[in-house]
């Protein structure tokens, strides 16, 4: 048991995952987060956006992702698409402002990637960022983890 925990902790460290015992969800260290449970990975002017493990866990099995058109403008904090799970459509809000340059077409045939791989294969859009300063409005992984802990207490 101790060996398995040590292995898990080393693997988590390698993958830059913060692991908590459930009920807390996983959080990736180098990403930025917003309070509507989306993450963004920024690389210069390019950003990749998805929903967090906390979000996918609370939404349930995703059966459909409504993707925006490439070229659409997105605004920080505003909706750009939706996921369908259980009987609900839930908005996906953009953590950054800019222009959509790519969407994850895989989600059309495999919407469950959002559940199984929220931070990797379940990415949703890529954005050409128009205002890098807006990233200061977002939470880092530690702040987001605390935010989720508080959220779970309600």
């Amino acid at each position: 048991m101790a060996c398995r925990q040590l292995w898990a902790s080393r693997a988590a460290s390698y993958l830059r995952l913060s692991l908590f015992n459930r009920p807390f969800s996983s959080v990736v260290k180098d990403l930025k987060y917003c309070d509507s449970h989306e993450w963004v990975k920024v690389d210069g002017k390019s950003a990749t956006v998805g929903i967090t493990d906390h979000a996918q866990d609370h939404l349930g099995d995703v059966v459909y992702v409504e993707l925006p058109e490439v070229g659409k403008s997105v605004t920080q904090g505003e909706s750009f698409g939706a996921v369908e799970s259980v009987k609900a459509t839930s908005d996906i809000n953009s953590p950054v402002s800019g222009k959509v340059v790519e969407v994850n077409e895989e989600l059309n045939s495999s919407p469950g990637l959002v559940n199984s791989s929220p931070y990797k294969d379940g990415w949703i859009i890529k954005v050409e960022v128009s205002d890098s300063g807006e990233l200061n409005n977002l939470m880092d992984s530690e702040q987001y983890s605390k935010f989720c802990e508080e959220d779970s207490k309600h």
């Binding site: 939404l59 459909y64 259980v86 609900a88 459509t89």
Partner: protein, 250 residues
Amino acid sequence: MAPLMNLVRLRGFPILQQLHLEERMLRTSSANWCIINDGTTSPAIVMGLSGKVAELVEAKSVLRDHIPVIRRFTGGGTVIVDQGTIFVTLICNKDDVSDVQPFPRPIMSWSGQLYGEVFKGLADFHLRENDYVFGDRKFGGNAQSITKHRWVHHTSFLWDYEVKNMSYLKLPTKAPEYRLTRDHTDFVCRMKEYLPRSEFIERTIKAIEAQFSVKSINLESTDIPSSSEFVHTTRLLTEQELLDACTIQT
């Protein structure tokens, strides 16, 4: 002090217009709304956001009989609605229902408790998976849409239905587990066998009054932007889309 809930009571209101109104209320208003529509006009088929018409609807019959097919902005399955359907919609600010996390299952559970109060002492009511049932027979179907600060939970209640209308719908590939292999007539039941229509509506309003301060408003006084100023997700499917579905089905 209990949060305010604006109540709009309608009767025979077309379902497409109702769904459009709900979308505008969800996206442009900051108030809480309850809409009760006591029966819509002529029959219409209403699919969830991701519904594929060729999989859900008998396209040839629908085209032949001019049954409108609508894709709504909320999730969930397909229903055929008519004057025997009673609609109850709740549109809430998440902060006004702060003990309910703004995610599908907590909202569904909260609604189950609300309707538990409506049917208390009258029938063997349960929230079963995502349906409202008496015993193991469905009489109410639910769907939701959740935004950053608000959510809508709406229900179509089977007050009464015509068996022939059910034949416009295909058996869905995704069905709740408790349905087992039952066909429509063995799976659903009619609310009218349990309580009078007006009593259901009055009991529903009373249950909402236990959590909110309810104020009745006329549709004309709602102060919601008109249809022309808003791009709705909910829409009527075109004849071409139904013809394409026919082609797939033959």
